[in-house]
């Protein structure tokens, strides 16, 4: 059963790997929620398989991965696992401390957008909402 296009975007906000600094993900989750989206939030250090499972169960459109240390290095494994699970339409965004050279690596791996420190609420909510619409369009087609 899929969510109709006009329903609020469904976004999973989480962290992979080992780091637990979550001020950024908590603030962003609150921003997305206050912008009217359905936000699913988890504690940090999720396993990739668990994120895929949750994305499936919760029928999410966008997954937001927060990274302060180097956990974003795992994101290519996530995009691959999503594709394998038939969730290729789900858009993945990353936010946090991401060095320039890692950013290109992430974009090559299918990440839709990297939000750096200093990104505004407006930028994030607008982009995530737009990506959610695109995810639903992709799934329909």
């Amino acid at each position: 059963m899929t969510t109709p296009r006009e329903e609020p975007a469904r976004v999973l906000v989480t962290k992979l790997g080992l780091d637990g600094h979550d001020r950024g993900s908590r603030v962003v989750a609150a921003f997305l929620r206050d912008a009217g989206m359905e936000v699913i939030y988890t504690s940090p250090w999720q396993e990739i398989a668990a994120v895929v499972q949750l994305a499936l169960q919760e029928d999410v459109d966008v997954i937001g991965i927060s990274s302060l240390a180097t956990d974003h290095l795992l994101v290519p494994k996530l995009t691959m696992a999503l594709a394998e699970a038939g969730l290729g339409h789900v858009r993945v965004v990353v936010g946090g401390i991401v060095p320039d050279e890692d950013e290109s690596m992430l974009l090559d791996a299918g990440v839709s957008r990297v939000f750096h420190p200093g990104s505004t609420r407006e930028e994030i909510t607008t982009k995530v909402d737009e990506l959610a619409r695109r995810a639903r369009d992709r799934r329909m087609s």
Partner: protein
């Protein structure tokens, strides 16, 4: 010629003040009330009407004397400046050893050990995704690894601050190394940083390893063990930094930290320990934000509250128990990715606030921390910043140089009031342990984090290069990063496998079984068994795993 403090009422004072106020109001018109990050109202001018020095002896006193507002030692920075303790740790034990050697060559005597995030999470290298190994700290799992870290270094001559959450496996490995080298444990000096499990449960979740009740017990066991066996070791560092980095205002961070320290002290007293045996070795760790005067006042107020509290609440008699010793770290949250060299200016202002706040040890952030793990170049600038402030700007010539400023004294009083009101909320909730268990503290911090971000979004709080004074950038000022090569980490993994295969397994298993039993026997000291296990050859990951089995895996309480 010295001036006597102005006494109020001063003839003509009120008339002069009213005259100034009129002119000020005419020029400024209707003004919005200004508040600092803690919510304290900040007025345009402070005068003897706000602080007159009449209660000098009760509220300030002299450095090294109660209530310690002006500093915890009689000579403060003029006698001995702060320790320059930069965080180090990246890659393998060999990498750590090489970096340590360079620091010691440069005259350092206080060092830190920052382990890899896999270690923080309680795992050995072979239990996590190898991609992440050594990217944020040193991979240290075994007594051999620890030996390599300190190869060629006299462990007894160093003060080592280890980022070592409970059950304090790194200290146990260090003690095993000391034993191997024939160094008596009473010669080992340093601090168990990251021993404050409450701050991990609430804010820095990465360090939270063992479920809350187990954590509570292991910390007291550790303090007890250190009191008996490690006279040179500070077993506890209560960390306000996590609270503030997690979003707490400066006053909330100070209040929550003091309440946490009260909880730990009460837990030790409940175990039958005498406050004057453990309080002298409590240390604190604070974030220093760029809200300059607010930070100075936060630290002065914290010192005063702690001194009064330990005397009144715990009956501490020994003046060493009254000293609020703290390390400060400049706030990473204030740094920006935009125009990253601007961060050098931010760190300078933050460091000045910490110095004027009377800290005992200082870490200055590298300007590139917002881009990646710091490069060595940037770390050197961070150290130079401290040297310049100390020896070129002469910030250390006078003790508590901002003391006696009408503003700083009034702000110290106001911050004290805010801090005490936070502490009262915690007391009313049944103390810090209960207050974090229920999520009350997490909600407080979450709301403050959001409120501060709103101020940045609305432009009420300027952040240069982010919401004001933006410039086009080409990214050329961003340094290159260094990460351990995969083949180097493979060598480390091979070494771990060889280590595990070469041990006397009967002794390791016996020690781990004894550790497991101690978790269910209140007559035993769990930390003693942790040390025994390390000496017997158990790895960091094995010790943590065994305690997690017996005491429960630590899951922080996360709220949005």
């Amino acid at each position: 010629m010295s001036q006597r403090p102005v006494q109020i009422p001063l003839p003509g004072f009120e008339a002069a003040r009213a005259r100034w106020q009129d002119t000020y109001n005419q020029q400024m018109g209707e003004e919005k009330v200004r508040r600092n990050r803690s919510g304290v109202e900040i007025r345009a001018l402070y005068t003897p009407g706000d602080w007159s020095g009449e209660r000098y002896l009760e509220d300030l006193g002299f450095p090294g004397e109660a209530p310690m507002t002006r500093g915890i030692y009689p000579s403060m920075h003029r006698g001995r400046t702060w320790s320059q303790r930069q965080l180090i740790g990246l890659g393998t034990p060999e990498d750590y050893n090489a970096r340590l050697a360079r620091i010691l060559d440069a005259g350092g005597s206080a060092v830190s050990l920052i382990p890899c995030n896999s270690v923080y999470r309680g795992f050995d290298a072979d239990e996590v995704d190898a991609l992440l190994l050594g990217t944020c700290g040193a991979v240290v799992n075994t007594v051999d690894d620890m030996d390599t870290c300190f190869e060629g270094v006299d462990v007894a001559a160093l003060s080592t601050a280890m980022n070592d959450p409970l059950p304090f496996t790194l200290l146990a490995l260090l003690l095993a190394v000391a034993k191997r080298r024939g160094i008596p444990w009473d010669k080992v000096t340093g601090t168990s940083n990251q021993s404050d499990y409450i701050s991990h449960f609430v804010a820095n979740h990465m360090f939270f390893r063992i479920a809350l009740p187990g954590s509570r017990r292991v910390l007291v066991d550790h303090i007890d063990f250190a009191s008996r066996r490690l006279p040179g070791w500070n077993p506890l560092s209560v960390v306000g930094q996590h609270m503030q980095q997690g979003g707490a205002t400066p006053a909330e961070a100070m209040g929550l930290t003091l309440s946490t320290a009260v909880q730990y002290a009460e837990d030790c007293i409940a175990r039958g320990m005498d406050p004057d045996t453990f309080l002298p070795r409590f240390t604190f760790f604070f974030d220093i934000s760029i809200s300059f005067f607010e930070e100075v006042a936060k630290m002065r107020a914290g010192r005063r509250i702690w001194c009064r509290l330990v005397r009144e609440r715990f009956g501490a008699q020994d003046p060493r128990s009254w000293r609020f010793k703290f390390h400060g770290q400049t706030s990473g949250v204030d740094l920006t990715r935009q125009q990253p060299l601007n961060n050098i200016a931010r760190v300078t202002a933050q460091a000045m606030a910490g110095i004027f706040g009377g800290l005992q040890s200082l870490h200055t952030d590298s300007h590139d921390e917002v881009l990646s793990v710091p490069t060595e170049d940037a770390a050197r600038i961070a150290i130079s910043t401290q040297n310049i402030l100390r020896e070129e700007a002469h910030l250390v010539d006078v003790i508590d140089p901002l003391g006696g400023s009408y503003y700083v004294e009034k702000l110290t009083d106001d911050m004290e009031e805010e801090i005490l009101s936070v502490m009262k909320r915690v007391d009313d909730a049944g103390g810090m342990y209960r207050a974090v268990e229920s999520g009350m503290v997490q909600s407080m911090i979450g709301a403050s984090a959001l409120a501060f971000q709103e101020k940045i979004e609305s432009g009420e709080q300027t952040v240069v290069g982010v919401n004001a004074y933006r410039v086009e950038e080409d990214g050329s000022s961003r340094g290159a990063l260094s990460r351990p090569l995969p083949e180097v980490m493979q060598t480390q993994l091979d070494r771990l496998a060889r280590y595990k295969a070469s041990r006397e397994m009967a002794a390791v298993n016996a020690a781990l079984d004894a550790l497991a039993r101690s978790a269910h026997d209140d007559g035993e000291n769990v930390y003693e068994k942790v040390v025994d296990a390390a000496v017997a050859g158990a790895t960091h990951g094995e010790i943590v795993a065994r305690l997690r089995e017996e005491m429960g895996f630590g899951e922080p309480l996360v709220q949005v």
